[in-house]
């Protein structure tokens, strides 16, 4: 209010050009107009040039028959399916490799990160060497290392390595028996769900009891017994309704069973091991970021080093770790587009083929950008929720 009064008192201070408010408004409007004009110009230019070059445009091609096959198809797909479906297959493959990579990278990263702070000289040095090697090599080379250096030199299908439980390893990938569930297997699933619920209940009650009386209860082992024991019991009761489809040698390849292709395997291993090096450093920073007094105080209370790490250090370290961890997850997802170099049919590879068969580069690249953008936004939204739950709640 005060500033308005001052303005009103001095109307003749200068022309409106010198009024900071009007100037700000003017320039903001100008920027917005320029932005829209340039977007309009870009879109218009693209449409005009496509027409001039007689190139088809629009998204109708998504409903046309694709005509090419894809090696990894998480959903039913044949060459008779549409381009749209081919793109969805590619997107699902990207999601699968990114999700598996995030889980694996997190596990490896936490182990290495904690290992770097170990009291043991050997473990500490091994973890340091790991981090320094993997984070200093471009991810594409790590992918080639796994694909051409490790998996391609495995024996051909006829001379596969025989592994336990009817599994095989050869240069076409890793084969293991696929379980086929028979009648009554729903009982096992129900038992598993019940066991999960019971484990949660036990944990909840144990916590209440500890709060009230200070007495502890072996929650971890009880949960393991419940989650493993109940389904096994149900499985036996239902009369063991499980048969296996074992991989068998045929003319060219092993058939039957479940196959993990070398393209997927090398991409997954490369992305996880590469990203794990960064996650390890983030974890180390997080743990180092928790003041030494915290663990000293916990030790003074009589806690041993395991519980100190688990109950005092890591919960506080997580607050430091999660935001940069999100960036690493996003990087991993985006790096998965390097799949194209080894022929894993991820979104970039499939969209690239679609783009080439239809010649509609602008639409193809646009769809790819949107897909990666949405994937990244979803990942960061999930991580923001996790972050909010981990954040310090002030009482």
């Amino acid at each position: 209010m005060a500033s308005q009064e001052i303005l009103r008192q001095e109307p003749g201070r200068g022309s409106f050009i010198n009024d900071p408010k009007i100037r700000a408004l003017f320039f903001q409007t100008l920027v917005v107009i320029l932005l829209f004009v340039s977007i309009w110009w870009i879109v218009n230019n693209v449409i005009e040039n496509l027409q001039r070059l007689h190139i088809a445009s629009g998204f109708q091609f998504l409903r046309n028959r694709a005509g090419f096959d894809i090696s990894d198809t998480p959903i039913a797909y044949t060459s008779d399916a549409t381009y749209g479906r081919a793109l969805i297959v590619g997107l699902l493959n990207t999601i699968i490799v990114a999700a598996a990579g995030i889980v694996l990278a997190t596990i490896v990263g936490f182990i290495i990160g904690i290992g770097r702070l170990s009291q043991n000289w050997l473990i500490r040095k091994i973890c340091t060497v790991y981090v320094e090697i993997f984070r200093n090599i471009p991810p594409l080379l790590v992918i080639f290392f796994w694909y051409s250096g490790v998996l391609a030199v495995l024996p051909p299908p006829r001379e596969s390595y025989h592994l336990p439980f009817g599994s095989f390893l050869n240069q076409r990938g890793f084969y293991f028996p696929r379980g086929i569930w028979g009648d009554g297997s729903w009982l096992v699933l129900v038992a598993f769900v019940v066991a999960l619920a019971m484990a949660w209940f036990v944990a909840h009650r144990a916590r209440q009891r500890q709060m009230a009386t200070g007495q502890q209860f072996p929650v971890f082992w009880t949960s393991v017994a419940l989650i493993v024991g109940l389904p096994v019991l149900a499985f036996l009761l239902a009369g063991m309704p499980l048969t296996f489809d074992f991989p068998k040698q045929s003319t060219f390849n092993l058939t039957g069973g479940f196959q993990i292709k070398p393209e997927f395997l090398s991409l997954l291993l490369a992305l996880s091991f590469y990203t794990a090096a960064f996650i390890a450093e983030i974890v180390r920073a997080g743990i180092k970021g928790v003041s030494k007094g915290q663990s000293e105080a916990a030790a003074a209370l009589g806690l041993r080093s395991g519980p100190i790490l688990r109950l005092v250090v890591i919960p506080q370290a997580m607050r430091i770790v999660i935001p940069p961890l999100t960036s690493q997850y996003l990087n991993l997802t985006k790096n998965s587009s390097l799949a194209i170099a080894i022929g894993y049919p991820d979104l970039t590879a499939t969209a690239g083929t679609v783009l080439n068969q239809t010649g509609q580069a602008v639409e193809g690249v646009f769809l790819m950008m949107i897909a990666y953008l949405v994937l990244s936004l979803v990942t960061s939204a999930v991580m923001n929720v996790v972050n909010a739950r981990m954040a310090l709640v002030e009482r």
């Binding site: 007689h54 190139i55 090419f68 060219f252 083929t353 010649g359």
Partner: protein
């Protein structure tokens, strides 16, 4: 005021860019002094750099022929190696002036992709290659059910492969790479049982494998693959120059004009040869195309006639030793037929 001035400058720059883009390809090419030619990343016999880094092959020579027609000098070409996936975008965007990269002529590419195919410099068909040492007893593509097949992405080959296995109710496992070298390496390491591409390509690729003698090309030809150069749609003059360069190569072979005898042929009294070589009094067939009247002389001096180009790159003069077959002239029972220059 500064902003307005800047905006006007920007608009002027954009206007300039637009006008440059709409000029004819011939003028643009003449102005820059060379032809930008899109080739493969290395397919023996068609376009592959030799040990000195010079591009060799039918496709590379075709670009030299066009350069000879335009500039009178076959060396005024710059080559851009392109993967199967990059090739059309490169031509559409104007990065290259002509795409001469063992590309199959299809209706979709001629229409929806905005390309204009010039002709068929090589009639090909798709085949399969297997390692006979590892797979004894396989002597037909129809025995390939269940095989892992290596193929390059974004090609007609990939589509024919899907069609062929579907038609014959066979299963297969596609192993798809973007770059030719990656497909070659994967096949050579044993990742796939079979390799599929155009038969001429299979013969060329076989030479680059670690033990070429172990590999055999199966007899089945599963598709028509008319390979030829393409230009952008909507520039008739440039398309005509490319198309008639190709026809001139064929007509020269038919008339018996070779790299060695082109100078003496200039004094020929045969009106057909006179029209072709621009020695006919008052003839201006070259000028009508926007070229010089001795354009065919320049082409032949640079690369020879079609037959010479073929034998040197893929035929008896090359390690590939492919017979002329359907690529012989129509007078010798083949399909190569050049409309007359007159």
């Amino acid at each position: 005021m500064k902003h307005i001035a800047l905006g006007m400058l920007g608009a002027a720059a954009l206007g300039l860019m637009a006008s440059a883009a709409s000029a004819g390809t011939l003028d643009t090419v003449k102005q820059k002094g060379f032809i930008q030619c899109g080739v493969s990343t290395g397919l023996a016999g068609f376009s592959a750099p030799d040990d000195k880094g010079d591009w060799k092959g039918i496709d590379a020579d075709f670009c030299r022929a066009v350069a000879a027609a335009v500039f009178g000098d076959g060396s005024k070409v710059k080559f851009t190696p392109l993967s199967a996936k990059e090739r059309f975008t490169a031509l559409q965007s104007g990065e290259i002036d002509i795409l001469s990269r063992n590309t199959t002529w299809t209706s979709n590419r001629d229409s929806a992709l905005g390309l204009d195919f010039v002709g068929v410099t090589y009639y090909d068909g798709q085949g399969f290659m297997i390692n006979a040492k590892k797979l004894p007893g396989v002597n037909s593509a129809l025995q390939l059910s269940g095989a892992a097949v290596c193929v390059q992405s974004g090609t007609t080959t990939e589509l024919n492969l899907a069609d062929y296995f579907k038609k014959n109710k066979m299963e297969y496992n596609p192993v798809v790479f973007e770059k030719l070298e990656e497909v070659n390496a994967a096949y050579d390491s044993g990742r796939c049982d079979a390799y599929t591409t155009d038969q001429s390509g299979l013969y060329g690729i076989r030479l680059t494998l670690s033990s070429p003698a172990d590999h055999v090309v199966l007899p089945e030809i599963i598709s028509k693959e008319p390979l030829g150069p393409a230009v952008r749609q909507g520039d008739d003059q440039w398309a005509h120059i490319a198309r008639w360069t190709y026809f001139a190569l064929l007509n020269a072979e038919e008339a018996g004009i070779t790299q060695a005898n082109v100078e003496e042929m200039k004094s020929s009294t045969d009106p057909n040869i006179q029209r072709l070589l621009g020695t006919e009094p008052d003839g201006k067939y070259g000028a009508d195309l926007g070229l010089s009247n001795d354009w065919v002389v320049n082409i032949i001096k640079a690369v020879g006639n079609y037959g010479e180009m073929f034998e040197r790159n893929v035929g008896s003069g090359s390690p590939l030793k492919i017979a002329r077959g359907i690529n012989a002239l129509w007078t010798k029972g083949g399909l190569q037929y050049g409309p007359p220059v007159r």
